[in-house]
Symmetry: C2
Subunit: 261 residues, 2 copies
Amino acid sequence: MLKNPIIETMMNRKSIRKYSDKLPSNEELTTIVQAGQQAPFAYQLCSVLLSRKKNKNPFGSPWLFTICLDANRLEKIMAQRNWKVASNDIAFLIFGIQDASLMAENMVIAAESLGLGSCFIGSTPYIAKSIIKKYKLPKRVFPIVQLTMGYPAEDPTTRPRYPLEFTLFEDKYPEFDENIINKAMTEMDEGYLDQEYYRCANFMIPLEGDRKETFDFTNYSWTEHISRKAGQWDPFPDDLVEQLAACGFHIPVKQNKYNEN
Amino acid sequence: MLKNPIIETMMNRKSIRKYSDKLPSNEELTTIVQAGQQAPFAYQLCSVLLSRKKNKNPFGSPWLFTICLDANRLEKIMAQRNWKVASNDIAFLIFGIQDASLMAENMVIAAESLGLGSCFIGSTPYIAKSIIKKYKLPKRVFPIVQLTMGYPAEDPTTRPRYPLEFTLFEDKYPEFDENIINKAMTEMDEGYLDQEYYRCANFMIPLEGDRKETFDFTNYSWTEHISRKAGQWDPFPDDLVEQLAACGFHIPVKQNKYNEN
């Protein structure tokens, strides 16, 4: 693998959940957000809210960013030009989530380069309604992801990833045999077990229904963890659809067509 | 604004649409994709297809990446653990597009750091069905964005962005007055006019219906361009919903609820 300061910064990134008392500067703030803005966009469909209420932010981080899919600014500009939006909301969702994520990733890497750490809060779309209240969001602004940021007070190891051969495919998506699936599972699971990740977090997702627990912290790891999430959580889209609608994005789905996979 | 090699790499990024004949190496390839993999994920819901068919790739780029929301690998792993997916497809869309975009942005910046350039092809979700054929995608893999990459044979200027005050908001999303909207429009429009962007591309989006053309390349710029896109294109989600369904993601919307904004 080739190395340079940029590649090394990316390869060393890890989520930071403990922050030092040292407050980052305003110049660091504007640098990080402007680096975020320079990501490749089609519509610039994202905006960023900041809270410096350290005692209320997750992990007591000095900064909490809420990165939003923002169609409000576009619509305000279009009104000045005598246009109204015609495009549908699924298109806005697909392109706006990309804009917000591209911006967020630049912010994460820019922050790393200045010695700051960060952590994504993935459940953000599920608490959109409370974020509307907190930040007085207008319609057509949907919070995609929250990001804590500040100087780190911990130095965890980087987390494992799938093997490259399970991620990069040339010309044709392969049929996976059990070997490569098991190799990917082993690399993820042993990586997390070596780091005692779930034991240190003291967390296993509880089993629902009739399933009996057969795992403990000697063998509960990443693939079991994500299987329990995707296998148990959030079967119906109602909650997300409602949070989106509260933000003025209408994805009214026919419930009966769900879960036909 | 603070500077370091990483910030400068991000601030200097621009889309490259002309590529040199020099072929990037396999070591550059694996470095870039592995840097992409190290982005912050919840589920690692993305995979990457590569085509090196230079004469078929957009702009004749040596590499064309197709970055996909990939639930197939997760489901294969879950099957090994005796689980089936319960989570709904809107959740997969929201979290998978994030994973794919975070990975894509790391790849873009890693490439820049090695002297390579890139360009996003934003229309990718609309051609999902043809991508299925080309790369033999299994169900539950949806192409989010394509990315051309190679050594640049042009050196365009960076493109303008909204003013920071139109993007970063502290504690409360503001009510915009006309001044800030007009300032944002002016910065975008004059920036693109100074670069003669649309004149050089020789492209204005044609007006539909009864609207009469009143623009030429002396005043047609970014805000008019995006207004014409969002104001005319893609009013109904049918096409995207169909492309998603072809990939095994079911977002069956009630059409009559659309465009109520």
